[in-house]
């Protein structure tokens, strides 16, 4: 059999394979040059970028939990200006798709970063991290409410001509409503999921392990929850889905693809194995060969006669 076709398209963004690296787990990409050729990736998503540099939360920032980890990095990043001046030029030499992850504490901050990215060469798309508290709305998380998500999406949509991916928070009652709001406001794709809010307690010290008290749970523990949300959103919107949450292997990626994701992101796995995303992409090629599938696109949402879930477990 000829080599299977791994290429996919997220709207106008063409990826040579459906495996990207997730925001906050791949630095600005350059940190991984000792381990892989960035051209082997479907694409990379940068660490979240804000208008000005952020020093992040005090330590402890991370703790391992069963099959997962909590992080409360506090969105430490170099800021959009340093990114554009130092990181992006270095990335341009590499034949890969760069997606800039963006966040802010106010609508104006999101817009500011989107506008600056709009003029930058070498950015293929913007991914909005909406799992942040809106300091102008009493700390309500932008992405935890359809109306608020619609507002921020609309503002960013106006601020840039770049393809816009809205990265959904899973800490909501009905993620379909949020996804629909993103679609209605012109998002080109939704990516899901961001981390689940969690907490670990050091029982000897009788205090939270993390200085921030809560953190975001990622890793294999959340995979069944993320796969379910992917499957739900697939039935709610028609724009492409970029799925993630606990992907460690090609088999895991296949769960998301069959559930309806056109592409996937590998996050926590990069910490454990810096080549994880490449290994997943190569594993997908092997899987397609073995199963005689010509293109990964045939598998997107290809669950055999998916019945309807009845609800109560």
């Amino acid at each position: 059999m000829v080599t299977p076709d791994l290429s996919v398209a997220i709207g106008s963004v063409r990826l040579k394979n459906p495996v990207l690296t997730a925001s906050g787990t791949f630095g600005y990409g350059l940190e991984f040059l000792p381990f892989l050729d960035l051209a082997q990736l479907g694409g990379l998503v940068t660490k979240g970028l804000s208008p000005r540099p952020r020093k992040g939360n005090p330590p402890e920032r991370i703790v391992e939990t069963p099959a997962g980890m909590l992080n409360a990095i506090g969105l430490q990043n170099v800021g959009i200006d340093v990114f554009l001046a130092e990181k992006l030029p270095a990335l341009r030499g590499h034949d890969t798709v760069v997606v800039a992850n963006v966040f802010g504490e106010t609508e104006a901050e999101y817009v500011e970063v989107c506008e600056k990215l709009d003029e930058a060469a070498g950015v293929a798309a913007i991914e909005l991290n909406v799992s942040c508290p809106n300091t102008e709305a009493g700390g309500m998380v932008f992405g935890n409410d359809a109306a608020s998500l619609a507002r921020i999406t609309r503002a960013c949509r106006r601020a840039t001509r770049l393809p816009l991916w809205v990265k959904l928070s899973p800490n909501v009652t009905d993620i379909r409503e949020i996804a629909k709001a993103a679609e209605a406001e012109g998002a080109d794709a939704v990516s899901l999921v961001n981390t689940f809010v969690g907490m670990a307690i050091d029982v000897e010290k009788r205090r939270p392990v993390l200085a921030n008290v809560s953190g975001g749970l990622s890793g294999p523990a959340i995979r069944p929850l993320a796969v379910w949300m992917t499957w739900q959103v697939r039935r709610a919107v028609t724009i492409p889905i970029v799925g993630m949450g606990g992907i460690m292997t090609a088999r895991d990626a296949m769960e998301f693809i069959l559930a309806g994701a056109t592409a996937v992101q590998v996050g926590t796995a990069n910490f454990v194995n810096p080549r994880a995303a490449v290994d997943v992409a190569e594993g997908l090629t092997a899987w397609l060969k073995e199963h005689n599938v010509a293109s990964v696109r045939e598998l997107v949402g290809a669950l055999a006669s998916p019945p309807t879930a009845s609800g109560c477990p």
Binding site: E31, P59, R61, I73, V272
Partner: protein, 274 residues
């Protein structure tokens, strides 16, 4: 950014020796990674196929030549069984595969001035980076003095090894079961007071409260002091930003958060913004 010579490889356990009291010495082949590795640099170590998600950081304890019974091209780590990851390590026999990333971070550098007196201050398993460092100093024709503390006489791995090779090893235990009763800061204070005009350089590794206490004394007396820091780590190569400590990256600058895995694990006492 990870140094370009960092390597990610799978290699079998050569030896995994139970030193008693929960302390173990693990040996594996790492000739190529060891070639440019410095004392107090570290490895991230995982067990392929296990359910412990993240690799764990361990200082290199022995580089080729450090231990007379070490195999050619092999390195050693000294570890204490603590939680899931170290329990899993202790269960491995020869031949079991290890998933190794390294060398990582910045290690110890010996003082330029050959007359400077080198003092190791170690707390318990914090002695781990000193064998490789001592061997290097010996190759340069230099010597070291050690202050070695722990909660009790049980928790002083490799004590005999250090006693054979250091100019002096001053032992302290919290419970007085060996050496002076109390903390390493007791003998250290005496040493600083008795130093006269002699230049000292402290190399410190152990629990964070000990590092803080020693750093404070060093700063107060203006003595050079390098700390080998610890922090929880997810990646070990600079990308998760999980391992930061508060520092003054610029002297008298604002407090910044720097990564123990890249900017450390060895940092100058004056850099810390504890």
């Amino acid at each position: 950014m990870a140094s370009p010579m960092v390597q990610d490889f799978t290699t079998p356990v050569l030896r995994n020796v139970d030193l008693g009291r929960g302390n173990w010495l693990l040996e594996f082949e790492a000739a190529s990674a060891a070639a440019e590795m410095r004392p107090a640099q570290f490895f991230m170590i995982g067990v392929p196929g296990s359910d412990v998600l993240l690799r764990r950081p361990f200082s290199v304890c022995g580089l080729p030549g450090t231990f007379s019974d070490g195999r050619a091209g092999a390195v050693q780590i000294l570890y204490r069984v603590y939680g899931r990851g170290t329990k899993l390590l202790a269960s491995l026999g020869p031949g079991a595969p290890l998933h190794i990333l390294g060398p990582l971070g910045h290690g110890f550098t010996s003082p330029q001035d050959k007359n400077t007196k080198i003092v190791f201050v170690a707390g318990g398993i914090g002695c781990a980076p000193f064998p490789a460092f001592l061997a290097e100093l010996e190759r340069e024709g230099r010597r070291a003095t050690m202050i070695y503390g722990a909660r009790s006489a049980d928790e002083l791995p490799l004590l005999d090894w250090f006693r054979e090779r250091c100019d002096a090893v001053v032992v302290t235990t919290n419970d007085g079961s060996l050496g002076a009763s109390g903390l390493v800061t007791g003998p250290l204070e005496q040493m600083l007071r008795g130093a006269g005009g002699e230049q000292l350089h402290l190399y410190v590794c152990g629990p964070t409260p000990m590092l803080k206490a020693v750093a404070k004394m060093a700063l107060a007396t203006g003595i050079a002091c390098d700390l080998a820091l610890e922090a929880p780590m997810a990646c070990g190569f600079g990308v998760c930003l999980g391992c930061v400590v508060p520092t003054h990256a610029q002297p008298d600058g604002p407090v910044t958060f720097e990564r123990v895995c890249v900017e450390g694990p060895v940092m100058r006492a004056e850099r810390m913004a504890w």
